[in-house]
């Protein structure tokens, strides 16, 4: 699916470059990207996404999890990446690691390879 389309829903074309960098379907894939990001990367993502968050969430509120088209799915994946990356800018001083923490690489998410829009996370 990810390779099938790189488009975003109408009105969100300005986020295309960010999506190419950050949008991934699974927690494991997004973590791998996040672990390599710099403070500048986190700041840029935050600066670009925060002003658009209301619009993004309003668009996604109209989408059932199991009925998104590929453009909506891509917007969802970008929003998911922002949801997980925002604390690194807001709370962790731009560090890709949570300060004073256990190795995030040693945490195994049971849902790590499941698409994050799945309705069967149990």
């Amino acid at each position: 699916m990810m390779s099938a389309t790189m488009t975003l829903p109408e009105g969100f074309a300005d986020l295309a470059e960010l999506a190419a960098r950050w949008a991934r379907p699974t927690e494991n894939a997004r973590s791998a990207i996040r672990w390599t990001a710099s403070a500048e990367d986190f700041a840029a993502l935050h600066a670009a996404m925060m002003p658009r968050l209301d619009a993004v969430l309003a668009r996604l509120e109209g989408c059932p999890l199991d009925g998104m088209d590929s453009a909506e799915t891509r917007l969802f994946c970008l929003a998911a990446a922002f949801a997980e990356a925002a604390p690194h800018h807001e709370l962790y001083g731009g560090s890709a690691e949570v300060p004073h923490s256990f190795s995030a690489r040693r945490f195994v998410p049971g849902h790590g390879d499941t698409p994050s829009w799945s309705t069967a996370l149990r």
Binding site: H46, L53, F107
Partner: protein, 417 residues
């Protein structure tokens, strides 16, 4: 605050007021002396724990909503009991537990490579790959290739070996004793009442994490059993979480519980936006009204979550949306792998997202909480190294650490039995 017998109780709360303990009562009942670390340090005690606790107590191994359909199964590896356990929903919709062991020569019927494995039995049977023996999901041995080549084979006695299995509120427990000394309901006792009635089964969206910690299982359990560490350890992920109050202490036989009140965290910009999404509706917003009456009995508005210790290795942090935005509850378990190695499992439970925006908000809250767990787990291996070094022989415990004091005493009493 700790006196559950005060006025203004929610209806039904007084029925459990005998569980409540003031700080003075806790000190009188559990003592105030330091507690020995020997039970953590001594491998011989771990050998005893395997026999006298993990082969005798009820252990949560699954939830009903993990295996919702007939034929769904979960295999859980439990090295603490040298066991691989198959939990399966039979054709009669009943959940049973079996040793995942072929009765022919002992191979695993369902092969596994992880600590947990999920699957679905086709046609309500599981088949051993070694020689093709077929078992019903309700246990009986159904068919044996080349059956005539066995000089004798009493198929009726060669079903999967069953393990006692009972459920409470959709949490599935097993007991290796044959038969168990008590039913699960008897074992849970007042805890089942205190925590009963919450719609756990409606919060079926689970984010699960696990890791293998190089420490004794009780080091991990104890680190998650108190709120004393929150302002220090969680200064990063929960900034401003300073008004925390760890109160409403309750003793419940081998179990115990307590409540975390507080003003919550100073939400960051993005968190405030995501929380707003949850708080707009009743599905994910704070629902203190759903809490069983013995929890937050006076209906305080700063309730965060209830933190019990369910003997021997389960925590259910019941928040009902009051603590982390949108989260119904979260659980921890601590599975010994050997004396100095522990499988920790943490699961965040949400009600199902009604649209993609709610799921994004869940991912945010889940990530914040996962990060807090990364802060918690950072201390555990160091603590165990310190205890093994012999530099200290005792732990100093304050009032908010009474769950540790109580768990240590319960462990001692089981080992002495």
């Amino acid at each position: 605050m700790n006196d559950l017998g005060s006025t203004g109780l929610r209806p039904g709360a007084e029925a459990l007021s005998h569980l409540g303990r003031s700080v003075e009562a806790i000190r009188a009942e559990l003592g105030i002396d330091p507690v020995s670390v020997e039970a953590i340090r001594d491998p011989a005690i771990y050998a005893l724990e395997r026999e006298k606790i993990f082969r005798r107590a009820w252990l949560k191994v699954a939830t009903a909503w993990e295996i919702p359909a007939i034929g769904d199964y979960k295999v859980k590896e439990l090295p603490v009991a040298d066991a691989s356990v198959l939990i399966v929903r039979g054709k009669d919709d009943r959940i049973r537990a079996f040793h995942n062991v072929c009765t022919h020569r002992g191979n695993k019927v369902v092969p596994t490579s992880d600590f947990e494995t999920f699957g679905r039995a086709r046609a309500n049977v599981v088949t051993c790959r070694f020689h093709g023996w077929v078992f019903g999901t309700d246990g009986p041995l159904r068919s044996v290739p080349l059956e005539g080549s066995f000089g004798t084979l009493d198929k009726a006695c060669l079903g999967l070996r069953e393990i006692a299995c009972e459920s409470w509120e959709g949490f599935v427990f097993i007991n290796f004793a044959d038969p168990p000394e008590q039913s699960l309901r008897e074992y849970l006792g007042d805890f089942a009442t205190l925590f009963g009635g919450y719609p756990y089964a409606e919060a079926t969206t689970a984010f699960r994490y696990s890791t293998v910690l190089e420490c004794n299982w009780k080091v991990a359990l104890y680190a998650f059993s108190e709120g004393y560490h929150v302002p220090t350890i969680h200064a990063g992920s929960l900034p401003g979480f300073r008004g925390i109050e760890h109160a409403d202490f309750k003793l419940i036989g081998p179990h115990a519980s307590s409540t975390i009140y507080g003003l919550g965290m100073e939400a960051a910009e993005s968190t405030a936006r995501f929380a707003g999404l949850f708080h707009a509706g009743t599905d994910h917003g704070p629902r203190p009204d759903l809490l069983p009456p013995g929890i937050n009995p006076t209906g305080r508005s700063d309730f965060q979550f209830e933190l019990p210790n369910i003997f021997p290795n389960l925590l259910i942090h019941l928040a009902s949306g009051c603590g982390y935005p949108g989260m119904a509850y979260f659980t921890h378990q601590f599975w010994p792998l050997d004396h100095g190695r522990t499988l920790w499992e943490g699961i965040n439970y949400f009600r199902p997202a009604r649209n993609a925006a709610e799921r994004v908000a869940q991912l945010h809250v889940n990530a914040l909480h996962r990060n807090a767990w990364l802060e918690d787990t950072a201390t555990m291996e160091d603590t165990f190294t310190g205890i093994r070094s012999g530099a200290i022989d005792e732990m100093q415990l304050m009032d908010q650490e009474f769950l540790i004091r109580h768990a240590a005493r319960t462990l001692d009493s089981y080992l002495a039995a």
